[in-house]
Symmetry: C2
Subunit: 222 residues, 2 copies
C-alpha cells in the first residue's frame, strides 16, 4: 500500500555474484578447458555459488553464451582501416566480422540469435549499411543487403564449424560419401563429374569469394 517513495537504496538481499563475474569466470573455463566443460554447475562452483543462483543474473545458458560472445567481441574486435570505396568498405567490414567469429567457433549455437548485435559490433554493421548506401542503395535496401551478408556469413561459420567438429568426432564414411558413391552419372552428370573432388572442394575456404560475389550483386542491383 504505502509504497516507499523510493530513495532507491539497494533493497533486498545483496547480490553475491554479478553478471560480469559470471562472464569472466565462464571465459576462464572456456579458455582453459574448452566450451564443453562450461556447464552451469561448473560455473557455479567456479565462483563459489550454486547453479540456480546464476539464473538470477542470466535468463538461461544461451544468454550466458551471448554475453560471452559479446565480451569476446569487445576484447578482440579492432576497427580496421576501411577503404573509401563503398564496395571494398562493405567487404572489409564483413570480412572483419567473419574473421573474428571464425576464430572462436564455439559460439555456433549462439550465432542464430537474431542479429548478434553486440554494441561493439555495431560499428561494423554501420560500415556495411553505409557502404551499401554509398553504393547507391536506398537505406531500406541497404538494411536488407546487410541481412543477406549476415545470413551468408553466419551460415558459413555455422556450417563450417559443425563440419569441423564432426570431422573430429566421427570416423568412418560419411553419409555424404555413401550418397556420392551411388550417384547415377546419367541423371546427375555434373555432380558425378566432381564427386571425387567434392570433399576437398568444399573444404576450401572461399568465404571471401562468395562475399565479393554477394556484394557485387547487391550493388549491381541499382
Amino acid at each position: 500500500m504505502p509504497q516507499p517513495p523510493a530513495p532507491r537504496r539497494t533493497l533486498g538481499r545483496p547480490p553475491r555474484i554479478s553478471r560480469e563475474e559470471m562472464v569472466a569466470a565462464a571465459r576462464r573455463i572456456v579458455d582453459a578447458e574448452g566450451v564443453d566443460r562450461l556447464t552451469m554447475r561448473r560455473l557455479a562452483t567456479e565462483i563459489g555459488s550454486t547453479p540456480m543462483a546464476l539464473y538470477h543474473h542470466v535468463r538461461n545458458k544461451d544468454q550466458l553464451l551471448v554475453l560471452l560472445l559479446d565480451d569476446y567481441a569487445v576484447r578482440t574486435l579492432r576497427r580496421p582501416e576501411v577503404p573509401d570505396e563503398p564496395r571494398e568498405r562493405v567487404v572489409a567490414a564483413a570480412a572483419a566480422i567473419h574473421e573474428a567469429l571464425a576464430d572462436c567457433p564455439w559460439i555456433v549455437e549462439v550465432l542464430t540469435a537474431d542479429d548478434l548485435m553486440s554494441a561493439s559490433a555495431l560499428w561494423f554493421v554501420e560500415q556495411i549499411v553505409d557502404g551499401l548506401v554509398a553504393g547507391g542503395l536506398s537505406p531500406e535496401r541497404a538494411v536488407h543487403g546487410y541481412r543477406a551478408i549476415w545470413y551468408y556469413t553466419a551460415g558459413e561459420i555455422m556450417i563450417r564449424a559443425t563440419a569441423a567438429r564432426r570431422r573430429r568426432t566421427d570416423d568412418g564414411p560419411t553419409y555424404r560419401d555413401q550418397v556420392f558413391a551411388a550417384l547415377d552419372p546419367d541423371e546427375l552428370p555434373r555432380l558425378s563429374e566432381v564427386a571425387q573432388r567434392w570433399a576437398p572442394l568444399t573444404a576450401e575456404d572461399t568465404y571471401l569469394d562468395g562475399l565479393r560475389a554477394l556484394v557485387d550483386g547487391l550493388l549491381a542491383a541499382r
Copy 2:
C-alpha cells in the same frame, strides 16, 4: 504353405524395430504434437520399445532428425519446371530448396550438417551446379558457388527460424531493442537513421532478393 522360417541369413537376435518404423513414428509425433515432444523416450513408447533400443538403429538423436528431414524431403520435394536460362535455373532450384525447408523450420539444428544432401535433394544441387557451369563458371568454381548459395540459404532459414521461435517465447524488450535505443547518432548515423524501422525491415522476407544478388555476382565474376 508359406514357409514360416524363411532361410534366414541374418545372424543374431532378430530386430523388433526398424529405422523406417522409427522415422515413421517420429513423423507422427512431430506432426501431431510438435517437434518439442519428440524425445527418445516418447518415441520409444510410441513404438513399444525402450529408449536405448533406438540407439541400435540410429547413432544419436541428431541422426534421427537428419533421417526425418530426409523423409520429409523425399515426400515433399517436387522437381519444378526449371528454365533453360542458367541464371534463372539456379535461382529456381535454390528457391525450391529454400521453400521446402522453410516450411518445416524445426530442422534448424540439423541444417548445420555439412551438406544435408539427402539423395532426393541432389537433383536440385545438380541444377544449381549445372546452371553455374552453363553460366560460364568452371566446375570447381561452380561447386564453390553452390556452397555459397547453401551458406546463404541455410543461414537465412536458421536465423529466421530462431528469431520466430524467440518471438513466440520471449516477451519484453529484446536485447536488440535496448541496443538500438542507446544508439549514438553521431557515431552510427546510418543505424540511427533506420533504428525504428529495423525490426519491420529485418522481418521482411527478402530471401529471393539476396539470392538473386548472390547468383548475379557469382555469374558476373568472369
